[in-house]
Symmetry: C2
Subunit: 133 residues, 2 copies
């Protein structure tokens, strides 16, 4: 299918994403690899993430403002609906699994002809703790 080798760096990156199963930024990956004493240039990280995204193994999303993109491994287990709520107050990222959102997706598809990409969408707002701020 697609020629690609398995290298120390690539394995380390995918492994980190797999085990973290949360959103990590490119710089977090680089920092992590440095801690593991795996030398890796940032270019490699970006190229690898690019490839992984094209292969549909990770999801790339822009969370927040200038902080850069975040990446998340796509596990089979979470192929159901899964939105993200990002609190503008404390910065917390909330994973939201809710049947209601499936209805929303259906509604937007049937009424507005728009197919939502659940994984890429980040809903901004204030969480319970920050709503008064």
């Amino acid at each position: 299918m697609r020629g690609q080798y398995s290298t120390k760096q690539r394995d380390a990156i995918t492994n980190f994403l797999k085990t973290t199963s949360d959103h990590v930024s490119a710089s977090e990956i680089i920092a992590h690899l440095k801690e593991m004493n795996i030398s890796v240039g940032s270019a490699t990280v970006y190229r690898t993430l690019d490839k992984l995204e094209k292969d549909g193994l990770v999801r790339k999303m822009t969370i927040g403002d200038g902080g850069g993109a975040c990446y998340q491994y796509i596990s089979q287990a979470e192929c159901h609906q899964h939105f993200h709520l990002k609190c503008l107050g404390c910065g917390k990222l909330i994973h939201l699994d809710c049947e209601f959102l499936e209805d929303m997706e259906k509604h937007i598809l049937s009424h507005h002809g728009f197919t939502i990409s659940t994984g890429k969408t980040v809903i901004y707002g204030k969480c319970e703790d920050c709503k008064d701020a």
Copy 2:
């Protein structure tokens, strides 16, 4: 209240945002001002936008990946629910006014304790024309 002068540049920026009433990027603003023969440094644009955002007059949101932030004037008229759909295919930005989304907001607030910031949220996906791509 807050000391701030009215200058040619600031007026031009707010005016452009008001009349456009759509999302504009910082570079679009700079380009526009250049066309109007108003000399303005990019630093001024960013500082002005910062201030306008803090004053609650414009809304800042990150649309897409690396393209930079977009700004939108907040008019009184559009205080109703208004979400944005961004097509990952053609890049089109769709303004969505829909009662269904009010229900969604209510649901997320009552069931998940999260107050959605409608203006900041961008829903990603594929529009009708791009859904097969």
